[in-house]
Every structure is written in C-alpha cells, then in structure tokens.
C-alpha cells in the first residue's frame, strides 16, 4: 500500500497555510490561561529499549492455560530473556501488528488462524524465518515462504452439551445437522468475523460441489433454518451452550476439551463420520522485530518435542510436527484417527470471500422461510 506523495504534499501545504492563518497577530503575547495541554500530552518517556539483558515481546491469542505452562519453562532455559506477553484476540493482534508496521513493537506472534496469518503475510507484516524443524511440518500447515508455521492442528467437529442431549440424540455426521429435529437446537459463533467458522462453512460448500456452490448454499440454508442464534464471540457461545439456550454447535476439538476439562463446561464432541476440516493455528515472527534472536529462540523452544508433547498431554493440543512419538501423546489422541475432509485449500481461500458474502446476504437468517 504505497501512499501517493502528492497527497502528503497537499496536506503539508494546507497545514502550513492553516498555521499561518491561525498565527495572524503573532506578535501578541497570549495571556496566561492558554496553557495548552500539549506539553503534558507529549513529553514522552523514552521507549524502553532492550538494556543489558535481552527482552522479548509476545502478542498472544493463546489461552492462559497454555502460556502458563510454556513461559515458566522458557524462563528456566533462558533466564536472561525478559519476556513480556500481551494477551489479545487473534483479530486484535492483526490490527496491532498492522498499525505498528512502521515501528513494530512485538517480536513474536503466538496464536493466529491460518487466515489471519496469511493476511498478515500478504501485507508484509511477517518475517521469513526457516526454523530447524521446518521439514517436520507438512507443507499444508506452513507458509511456502516460511513466514508462518502451524503450531497445532484444529479438527473442527460437532460440539454438544451432554446435559441437554441424550447420547442417542447426538448428530453423528454433518448431514445429520440439517435434520429438522434439531431445529432451534444449534447455536453458531458469528460466522463472518471468525476464521474458524468461515472455514467450516466453506468446507461445507466445498463438500457438496466445489464448482457449483448452489448445492452447498442449499445445504447451508437448511443449517440456517436449524440455527437458533449466531453469537458475537466464543465466550457467548460457551455461555449459551452452558445455559442450554442451545445444545449443538460446530467448534474446534482442542477448545472443546480445554473448556470441558479445565473450565468446567458441560461440553462433549462427536468426530463427524465423513471427516473434519482440519485447520491450523500458527505462529510467526513480526517483520522488523527488535529482538530477533530471542524470538527465534522462543520459536524453536515452542516447537520442541518436549513442549509439544506436554501441551498434547495436558492441554489436548494436536502437534503439527509429524515426528512426535506416539508414546508421548495422550491416549485419546492415539485412539482418535484424525480423518480429514478432502479439501483444496487454494480453492477454499480463493472462493472464501465470494461464498461468505453470498451466505451473509442471501442465506443468513433466511433459511426458515
């Protein structure tokens, strides 16, 4: 995004004109009250640079449950690196990194959906860095130019509240969801702002027929008819399921497990019989990071087999690395075959905007008619 010089020139010109206009009568001394707040506003402290010991600034969208495990261990290994973490949503990280482009404040971006990371990569916000474990990560889970790497896999599955549904009532596959008996039982996290939901919906269209989205639209229309509400954020989705305003949703496996095992939510999941879209959640180094060395150290540390195995065991995180020994993984992961839905990610990315716009304009809230 280059900015035209002439516009700046115009602005500077009008600025000086305005200044001149404002300053007419300049020889007069203003009376005392006009102490403008400028001084107060801007006599800034110098920005904190890395002094002596190294520092590392991480923007993270990860759950507290996760960085509480990782950070102390990192500190143990690298006691001289002062780590600062700023917790935000994935979208807010993108906004911040984008806005700070001219003078990046962050070094490491920990936790971004594939769509957020690709957007950032396309806008030139991420540094190219090839980690030592690069070849251990399958091509579909990393950026071809090494600007981001998938840290974990997120199978998108059917989530339900076992207190609200009997075991025999639970849908077993995607197509069960559009059965009229589930009318008003489904709650969905607002689709457009969520990379996860967009992928699931895209996958549903792709599954019907990638060349002619009409069939997929029909399917989504039936899903919309069964959908009671679209919630503004995950927090509200969990709340509505907890409180049985709805019983079923579509969500990623790790969060379902994390929320039910760590945060006491009555959630369980069904792995759809025909397979699930498997999303990836990744990390990247911010372009122009001031603590490049520390960021790389953290990168390597985060993906190390020990940490990956621990996160798998304690935080149900499916590692993207293929070389983690089965013995190090928890039982449920060993027994669960991650059957992927056959998808062409390039087509999905290319069609995403068109399909979602159509859904938003013509399907959302109109399925029941």
């Amino acid at each position: 995004m280059k900015k035209a010089k002439w516009i700046h020139g115009l602005f500077a010109g009008s600025l000086s004109l305005l200044l001149a206009a404002c300053g007419g009568g300049g020889e007069a001394q203003p009376t005392a009250n006009q102490a403008s707040p400028q001084g107060e506003q801007t006599s800034a402290e110098p920005a904190q640079p890395a002094e002596g010991s190294k520092s590392l600034v991480i923007y993270t969208a990860r759950d507290k449950n996760i960085f509480e495990i990782v950070l102390p261990k990192f500190k143990e290994k690298y006691p001289d690196i002062e780590v600062e973490t700023l917790e935000m949503g994935a979208q807010q990280i993108l906004e911040r990194v984008r806005a700070e482009k001219a003078n990046p404040q962050a070094d490491f971006w920990w936790g971004g959906t594939q769509s957020a990371l690709s957007t950032a990569a396309k806008e030139g916000l991420l540094e190219s860095y090839k980690p030592t474990f690069a070849d251990k990560i399958p091509a579909e889970y990393k950026d071809p130019q090494d600007r981001w790497y998938g840290e974990m896999l997120l199978p998108e599955v059917i989530m339900y509240n076992p207190q609200a549904l009997k075991p025999e009532e639970v849908p077993k596959d995607w197509d069960d969801l559009i059965d009229p008996k589930y009318k008003d039982k489904i709650v969905i996290r607002g689709v457009l702002p969520s990379g996860t939901m967009r992928t699931i919906y895209g996958a549903m269209i792709y599954r019907q027929d990638p060349n002619d989205p009409q069939k997929g639209y029909e399917w989504l229309k039936k899903l919309d008819a069964n959908t009671k509400e679209y919630t503004q954020d995950p927090t509200n989705l969990y709340l509505k399921l907890d409180r049985q305003e709805g019983a079923i949703s579509l969500w990623n496996l790790q969060d379902i497990l994390l929320q039910s095992k760590k945060n006491n939510h009555p959630f369980d999941f069904v792995y759809p019989a025909s397979g699930a879209p498997i999303l990836v959640d990744g990390v990247g180094i911010v372009k122009g990071a001031k603590n490049m060395d520390a960021a790389q150290k953290f990168y390597e540390f985060l993906f190390s087999p020990e940490i990956a195995a621990q996160l798998a065991k304690e935080r149900f995180q499916f590692p993207s690395r293929t070389d983690i020994s089965k013995d190090d993984l928890p039982d449920f992961m060993k027994n669960l075959e991650l059957k992927p839905l056959e998808l062409d990610w390039d087509v999905m990315a290319e069609k995403d905007k068109e399909w979602m716009e159509y859904w938003d304009q013509n399907i959302k809230g109109k399925g029941a008619q």
Binding site: C22, Q38, Q41, T42, Q92, N103, P193
Partner: protein
Amino acid sequence: MKPELQQTPLPTLPKRRVSFASSPYFVYVLVAPLFLVLLAYVVYPLFQTFVASVQVDGRLSFENYREFFSLEHSSNLEALWTSIYISVLSVITCGIVGVSLAFLLERYEFPGRKILSVLALVPMALPPLIGVLSFTFLYGESGIIPRALKELFQLEQVPFSLKGVWGVLVVHTFTMYTYFFMTASAAIKGLDPSLEEAAANLGANRLTIWRRVILPMLTPSIVASSLLVFMIAMASYTAPLVFGIDRTMTMQVYLSRTNGSLDMAATQSTILSVVSILFLLLMRWYQGARNYQNMSKGISVHRTEVKSKTGKYVAMVLSFIAMVILLLPILVLVLISFSVDGTWTVQILPPEYTVSHYLELFTDSQTWRPVVNSFKLSAIATAGIVVFGVAAAYAMVRLPFRGKTLLDVLIMVPWALPGTVVAINLITAFSEPTIFSFQQVLIGTFWMIPLAYFVRHLPLVFRSTSATLLQMDRSVEEAARNLGASWWYSFRRVVLPMALSGVLAGTLLALVQCIGEFVASILIFTTKTIPLSVAVYQRMYSFEFGTACAYGVLQILLIILVLFVTKRFIGDKNGPVI
C-alpha cells in the same frame, strides 16, 4: 465577590493587556493552540484515513464509494440505515428518560429523592464490556427474570426475552441517558424559575410552559447531549452484537478489516464520520435558530415538595422501582462475582458461591495493578481534557472568529468514530517520530493511552461546558470587564464559577468514560500499562467470569466513590457562587 472586585484597578500591565485583548487579532492567538492540537491529533490521522479510502492499488479512485452505495451489494447501505435509525431512536428514548428524570430530581422534593439522584448516575459506572453481558444475564433468554417468570407461572417457554432492536434500545437508553441527565441537570440548575412563574401568571398551562419556556431554555444542553448520544450510538459495537443486530456500520468496518480490505474499511469509517458531521451541522443549525439566554442572577432553585399523602406514597413506590431497575444490572455483576465459575447453567440463580475471586483480587498484587493504572491514565487524560475542553468551549461561545463550525466538527469527530478506528489512526500517526509528538515515537510508551483517551473524550467536557456557557448571558462577563477586571481575572472569577456545573458534569463523564474505555485501549496497552478494562477482557477471555465481575464491581465502587466525592464538592462550591 465584592472584596475581590475592589482590588482590580491595578497599574499599567493589565491596561496594556486590555487594549491588546481588544484587538481583533487577539482572538486568533487564543484559538491557535486549539487548532494546532486538533490538527495534530485529529485532522492528521483522519486525513490519512480519507487518503486510504480513495486509493485503490496506488491510484486515486472512488471505486470504494461506488461499491458502498451500489444497490447490488446492499449490506453496506443496510448497515448504514440500521446504524442511523438505532441512533435516532436512542437519542429519543435517552432524551425522554434523561430530561424528565433530571427535571423530576431538580424540581421536586419527594421521599427517596436524594438517594435516587445519586443512583441515577450509577449506569455511568457500569463497565462497558460486562455491563452489556449483565443485561443478557438479567433479561436474555436464559436470564434471571424470564426464567423466574417461567418457573413462577409454570410456562412451557420463557415468556419474553430481550432481543433485537428492542434489546439494543434498552441497553442504549440505560447506559446513555446519563448524558442527557447530567447536562440537563446542569442546565436546570441555572434555569431561573421566575420565568416559569411569569408564564404561569400570564395564564399559560403546564404544557405550554414546558413547550414554550422550559424546553427552549434547555435547548443547548439537549442539543449537546443529542449529539453525544447520536454519535456514541453510531459507534456502538457490543450492544448491537449481543442482541443479534450485526448489520451495523461498526461491524462492517470490523469485517472489512478482518477481510484485509483496508481501503474499504477506511471508506466506511469516512462515511461514518460524514454522517455524524451532518448530524452535528443539523444540530448547530437548529441551535442557532433559537434564543435561550438566561438573565440569571444566580437564583437558587427551590424544589416543589410533593405534599399530598397519596402523592408521597406513589412517589415512594415509583422511586423504589426506579432504584431497583437502576441497580439490578450491578447486582447481577455482584452475584456473579460471588458465584463459582461454570456452575450457573440452567438454574434461575447461581447455585454455588465463593469469595475466592475477591481474595485473589486483594492478595495478588498483579490483580491490583490494572486498577491503579486505569486511575492514573484516566486522571492524566482528564486533566488535559478539562484544560483544553473548557478553553475550546469558551472560545467557541464567546470569541468572535472564523472557523467555528470547523472547530466544532474537529472536536466532535473522534467521538463519532469507532474506538478501533481512533486507536489505529493514532498508532499510524505516532509510530514514527513526527513534529506533533516532538520527534518522539509514542507507541509502546505510557503516553499513548492518555493521548487516546484525551482525543476520544474531549467532546464531553467541550459539549457540556459550551452548553452551560450558551445559557449564560454574556453581559455578566462584560460587566466584570467594564469594572476593570482583566480578561483572565473575569474568566477565573466570573465565567468559570458560573459554568462550573457544566464543567464538572463533563469532567465526571470524561473521567468515567476513560476508566471504562476498552476498544482503543486493547490496541495500545503495554505490559506496564494494562488498564482495568483490558484486564476484565482478559479474564473474560479465559472464562474467569467471577474475577472479571469482581473487577467490574470494584470499578463500579470506585466510580461511585468518585461521584460521591464530587457531589459533595459541588455542594460545597455551589453555596458561595450563588
């Protein structure tokens, strides 16, 4: 005031000042700093947004605007329409509730008045994020009241739930009527009751007096608060979303940014500002078409006492109901702050209780820091806002200079933009050294947050102060000047005391808004300056609702404390002025 006035005839210096101050150019010296600051922190960032909106692939193009208004993809127009009508309706409902409440509390004496007049300000203290949530916990489909009614009457379904436009309007009215209430209260305090008495003596009935005397006299404050409410409703984000209205302008901006179409997002922001500016111009025109200056001689308002027995009972019951409505959302927060996270599912009230959230709050020094941070950041910002806002309001109302409308627009615009856009503008503008930041890089420093708060909440003090000044007859100040008082002296001893109620109302609003500010804060906080609202968000994000609500309760208590202290402070100050 007499003794001070006698001191004024002083030697040569003040005389020189008087002669200089009477030069027609003097006024430009006064307003120059105002324009400069606005240029740096409002115009410059805004201009960059506009530039981004007319640049597609590096060329000058209005493609985005064409797309916005094209009928093929109607979602943008639909969003514009929804935003506008929700905002207009919000102004109307807030106006009715706020002005009538202000009038009731300022003019009538009835049992429960005192406590109600403090509680009326409580909605201001409701923290933005969890505040809206507390409404859904109360009136939503799984909320306490619908569920209780269902249980009580053995119904199949919950009888009602707060949803859609109605939900948004209820939340907007509840949280925004305070703008009307505060400015209208300030104005009613300065209203001379003898005017009404005169009208009554001349045979006007109650309705005519309201229509022809009271409302016209309140015009400046009603205009001021209409503007504030209209703009904040346009920029409202959480409330529409929670109630399932997601085709609004703010949401469109958000979506465009998520999609990576930054130029479209800039276009939408620009259009959002243009709508608000048009509303501002409309309001200015309306205000200019009327006269409402008050030859107040500082008459104290006497309250009519409700005397009849039935009247007293009715008043008591009604004010009790009002109190319950005002307090319920806060009580819900208190309730959740004591409940065990994740246990409240299908019950009417939380089943398990704990004090651990508060223990954590008071034993962990980490949890305390955001509270201190928020107060520090907000205090600095508010100090700047008061100095600058009062100066701007005075210049606006009293000084003759060209470019008044421009000044007005410039000050108000940041209020009309979504917080995200304001923050992004500031980050973009100050991520590199510029002359406006004295060649300093501001992002990543402590000063970024106070600056954002300053820009965003300046309109509050500016509006409320200029509304009170408009209501005041300028001959009072002229009299002081004729008696030999210097400009500064008369400003300090005459203008300021008379405008004090308006200034304080705005200051309070600004301080409270700063403490609750979230959308901009989340984009500019640093690890050393995590404000309260961000801490609340982080707790909610990791689903620690109990702690989030405990934070919220603490925030409410602190704000109520501030309100209480200022109320006493005004009480003490008002005496000598009158």
